[in-house]
Symmetry: C2
Subunit: 305 residues, 2 copies
């Protein structure tokens, strides 16, 4: 699966993943009003608004970015109707040729991790037929439970040609509380990074592994070290923009050939219509603003502006 992502990145020339993390406050009234009218002022109505909003964004960006990353928490907040929108979003993005990274941060003991892996990346046989729960292309995984919490995901990746990104160093301010603590002279996140590289060798797909890593844009120096510790891991970089990560810092996450990392931008793209840099779209042109924001991001990332 990672080779498919790399191909898409090369084709689009954009190492960007768009975080499809809807919030009601990002959605223009015209979409909300219609959704509430059709489905009620309810969880169902809110979930319908998420879906229509996502659809406008997807329709406007699917040809210029390689991938999207829906954050399942935003959908789970709305209970079952929200998760139905999550599933519809995953399906629609795949129809449009986008690669879908389910930002689910799951992780449990072995047999339980297997259930998560099957539900999100794999398939289950019932009777004579095979069914798929959510069927993302990639999922993010929490490593706190160690190898037997991660390996069931890798087994499913190998069986189904899917991939994972393991949390190594997250982008939030208190990520250091445990992740930066020194063990045998090196921070915990480096130890986790070493394991990611080791796990990844069990699932190579071209020059990179189906086992990637999450390393926050907010910590570029750590990204530099981790880039070296995990030569086969693609790095998913959240925290760019809204969380404080800056463009020039991103260079550390990439290899010399411009590959090796994919940067997530969520609010900066999906809520661009609310940003004063895109005043021409302030009437709620969600999709046009998102497309403009992607182009702007690309230019900035190339150092053209």
């Amino acid at each position: 699966m990672i080779s498919r992502l790399v191909d898409r990145i090369v084709d689009t020339g954009a190492p960007i993943v768009v975080g499809l993390d809807p919030k009601l406050s990002f959605i223009p009234d015209r979409i909300k009003d219609k959704a509430f009218e059709e489905k009620g002022v309810s969880l169902e109505g809110a979930a319908e608004a998420f879906w229509q909003y996502n659809k406008e964004i997807i329709d406007s960006i699917y040809d210029i970015v390689p991938a999207v990353k829906p954050q399942i928490a935003m959908y789970e907040e709305l209970g079952i109707p929200g998760l139905i929108t999550f599933k519809k979003t995953v399906e629609y993005c795949k129809e449009k040729g986008l690669i879908v990274i389910g930002d689910i941060k799951r992780g449990d003991i072995g047999s339980t991790s297997e259930s998560y892996a099957v539900g999100h990346l794999g398939s289950i046989k019932i009777g004579e037929e095979t069914f798929r729960g959510f069927d993302e292309d990639f999922a993010t995984v929490n490593p706190y439970l160690g190898s037997d919490g991660v390996k069931p995901f890798i087994s499913v990746c190998n069986r189904e040609d899917k991939g994972i990104f393991v949390l190594v160093k997250t982008s939030n301010p208190s990520s250091g509380e445990f992740q930066d603590r020194i063990i045998d002279g090196r921070p915990l996140y480096e130890h986790v990074g070493e394991q990611v590289e080791k796990w990844g060798l069990e699932s190579m797909d071209g020059s990179y592994s189906n086992v990637g890593a999450v390393v926050g844009a907010t910590y570029p120096e750590m990204g530099k070290v981790l880039r070296e510790i995990m030569p086969h891991a693609y790095i998913l970089v959240p925290g760019y923009g809204a969380q404080g990560g800056k463009g020039k810092d991103l260079v550390h996450f990439f290899n010399k050939d411009g590959l090796g990392a994919i940067v997530n931008s969520s609010r900066g793209i999906i809520a661009a219509w609310q940003n004063e840099n895109y005043k021409q779209f302030a009437d709620g042109q969600v999709g046009d603003a998102a497309r403009a924001a992607v182009f702007r991001y690309e230019k900035r990332h190339c150092g053209c502006t």
Copy 2:
């Protein structure tokens, strides 16, 4: 919320939580056949079988145990239909007076953790009305992202009188890979335990805190130390039975008054009808076998056998 759990433990005299972790292989043919006939040999059919199976168990044990712990991964494996069964199970257990611990092991950066917390423990305002996603009483939380990943859960707990159990030392064989690594002379799990105690002081409810801890039964010596480090945390103890934790080891997790811990048993109760110790129920009397297994467990735990 923790005081409600303590009251229920005292009333039932049973510091046991029943893990509602269904698998198709645990379910008798009579339930599966009927479910598949009604809903098809499909995810919907399997989810219906989970529901009917859960219902038989709940109806047989609701008066003798204080709490249940559905493991959401088992439901998520079946996609949306599975999660609908999860939600129905949560609701039904609460109607029966059981306290529900959603074993969801969520955890993310601050704003995202807040969405999980709202979806599982809290409420969301849409228009003028308030809605609830899954509405468990407690949820399990992964601490890898540090305080700002955990505190949004605590805010929701304080607002809604709910609780969490934070993963400190998990029951699986490779839990030591990161959790046992030595930092400033002490294993990581002790540092996490210290934080749990600190976080917990922000959410006291009687003698204990709404912020509890998960500590695996498979590591009794560590349980002993953690019991001391976290005097206000209730300890949720998984891994008893199937994963190798033994009855005599459980004593370390409890305080002298018999409180302070609640032990999870899943397969040993919900699949008791398949166990050779309960041959009289081998025709698929799921509920009767589960009830017998709870009584047997209680006797063993009291040291009566």
